[in-house]
């Protein structure tokens, strides 16, 4: 691809170069218009983007350098500057605030790895199994997409009901019907809350993986499989040698998006556990929320958000660098 465009451009350049002077004068405004128009049309979107995303972000960064508490929220621009104090509090892992943030960070990392891994695995497996045509395939595909189509709050509230200790469906099945546990378990408090959170997160996230991979699969030419089958490749080999490599560009984006969504997920733990999440399921977004709103310490909350943003930027940057480099080497 790259070689063809460069040669075409070179040709164009030589063409315009061969007729110097003649058309240059009158053409310039036309070219400016041609070049400028797309930017002009992009302007509203750009301004909105600045307003909706960048301005709050910059404000958040500003706030993180201020001692912004209940005494100053009414006119936060008048809050005293505090330099890096908020950051010091956030990263001082020997003090309670930093220690709690670090704990929350590790919980979030573990949760994200497990959730993204499971979402991807389930999504890929299901998409591959649903590749062959059979009766009821359309129904199944639709059914699997339901969790993705449901409003998050409704879905998670339903899960919260199902996870209840006394009347929940989960305990009813696990304990009353199957007898797998000695006594009904607590899912919304204590250590099990991590499992509850992971379950809901995977349930909610895997249909997206399924959808994206299903779309990706449509682009793999059937001939490849036919040729592979002729050469005696089994199903497992076909998946390993054809499907997965062909899906690599899709997976690159999918895993990144899932990672960002899961790492930042606020709705699921908030609806499931309320304002104070159990320690085992204290995701970082809830933690920052609690620092900010429940304790009215907006400066420290902002500093934690900025740290989170930096971390995600670094991870995303490294990820893109590594995966695209690998892709480039693979392409050559």
């Amino acid at each position: 691809m790259t070689t063809t465009t460069t040669t075409a451009e070179a040709e164009r350049r030589t063409v315009s170069g061969s007729t110097p002077g003649a058309a240059r004068g009158p053409r310039r405004p036309g070219r400016i218009r041609r070049i400028g128009l797309p930017y002009l049309l992009l302007l509203p979107a750009l301004v909105l983007e600045l307003l909706v995303h960048l301005v709050p972000m910059v404000m958040g960064i500003l706030m993180s350098f201020k001692a912004l508490t209940r005494f100053s929220i009414r006119d936060w621009s008048a809050a005293p500057w505090s330099g890096f104090d908020n950051y010091k509090i956030s990263v001082d892992i020997n003090a309670p605030a930093g220690e709690a943030l670090l704990h929350s960070f590790w919980v979030t990392c573990g949760f994200t790895v497990l959730s993204v891994g499971l979402c991807w695995l389930l999504g890929t497996a299901t998409a591959i199994f649903l590749q062959d045509t059979f009766r009821g395939r359309g129904v199944l595909r639709t059914l699997f997409l339901v969790p993705y189509a449901l409003p998050v709050y409704t879905a998670v509230i339903t899960w919260a009901f199902m996870f209840q200790h006394d009347n929940g469906l989960v305990n009813h099945v696990l304990h009353d019907q199957l007898g797998l546990t000695d006594k009904p378990s607590f899912w919304l408090i204590g250590d099990n809350s991590f499992i509850a959170l992971l379950t809901v997160s995977v349930w909610k996230g895997w249909p997206f993986a399924f959808l994206v991979i299903m779309a990706g699969l449509q682009n793999i030419p059937k001939e490849l499989y036919e040729a592979a089958a002729l050469d005696g490749a089994g199903m497992w080999q076909q998946i390993r040698r054809i499907t997965l490599p062909s899906l690599r560009p899709v997976n690159q984006v999918l895993v990144l998006v899932l990672f960002l969504w899961t790492f930042n997920d606020f709705n699921t733990p908030y609806v499931l556990f309320g304002k104070a999440a159990p320690e085992a399921a204290d995701l970082i977004s809830i933690h920052v929320y609690q620092t900010t709103f429940a304790t009215w310490n907006f400066g420290t909350g902002s500093a934690m958000s900025v740290l989170l943003l930096l971390f995600l930027l670094v991870v995303t940057g490294l990820y893109l660098l590594l995966t695209s480099r690998r892709r480039k080497t693979a392409d050559v």
Partner: protein, 440 residues
Amino acid sequence: MRSIRVAAIGAVTLSLALAVSACGGGSSTAGGGGSNDSPKTLTYWASNQGASIAVDKKVLKPELDKFEKQTGIRVKLEVIPWSELLNRILTATTSGQGPDVLNIGNTWSASLQASGALLPWDDKNFGGIGGKDRFVDSALGSTGVKGEDPAAVPLYSMAYALYYNKKMFADAGISKPPATWDDVVADGKKLSKDGKWGLGAEGANLSENIHQVFVFAKQHGADFFTADGKPDFTSDGAVSAIKQYVDLMAKDKIIAPGNAEYAQNQSLSDFAKGKTAMVLWQTASATFASLGMKDDEWGVAPAPVRSGTPGTGTAVNSMVAGINLAVFKNTDNHDGALKFVKFMTSDAEQKILNKAYGSIPPVKSAQSDPAFNTQATAALRDTLAKSAEALPQVADESQFETSVGTAVKELFADAAGGRPVTTASVKAKLEKAQQQMPAK
């Protein structure tokens, strides 16, 4: 070509307009202070006092219409659920875009007072609504830091009482409601059998936890804040108070373990269904009725003390619960807002509203109405008058609710999960809670 130019001009105009309006948005309010720019309307944020938001609208709407008839001011009502109210107020404070008049939980008074978002009720403002003397002292004690102008005016007063299921008590052979905690435990043990339980609790509700342990701490002679407003969560009294509360589940086993995850008033529906025999609650009568429990099926008694009868000092048996009415400092209808507060705290409205919500009027002259002398309300009124104390009126109150409330929630989780709850484990949780408080 021409259409492109039109599109381009349109795009530029639109983006410029957006940019200008965005810059303009916040500036008008930056100066603060109230004005009378829109004298014909008021926005009122009401808290959720009835069984549902719809009930609140039904109760308040006719009264607001009355106000409009009297003054010509139209009141735009928004009823806000408790889970959101404080955040909404904080957002309004930050942006300066808020209601004109609003309800606040009276325990937030001092915290919100510190933010400077609410109009201070100095003598002049109080004079406009008939003077401070019209209000009950205990209710006034929960309107802000002592010695400063109150941040709000009492609207509804409530107190904790012990509600019990008459039939379950009779079946267990208990002739009168318990008066001390020892009685509660003894009776609770008789009642806790066959899947039924003695007492209900909302173990995962942070505010509810605070209300309970505040009273326990008082009864142990402890306070969560020192006289000069510093957090003091780990005193022996505070530790044994919280341990005593959690032990009702952990050691005495009269609270069902499942209550450890309750935060949405499930304990009230358990009570209405006859699954638990007792519950400590504030003004629960209206809720019981909405859950289908008849008035003669339950009884009400003063909340228990450690020994003797309820009174002051270590015989306190309730917090001063209630709702205050505040005026947002940035209001654009200052005079109208004060008129509205005067209307809502008038004798007539106090009687109507408090009757509808089952609460007690904080206005002395409205209390004489016979409606506040029934079995349900007499106990509450008595408690408020004799043995209720206000939660600490310090600026850090809301942080205290979060940190200590969470500690109690975690201790209940331990008790429910069968992990031991010891003096040491309680103290450790409280130490952690204290460390989370902002450094002075």
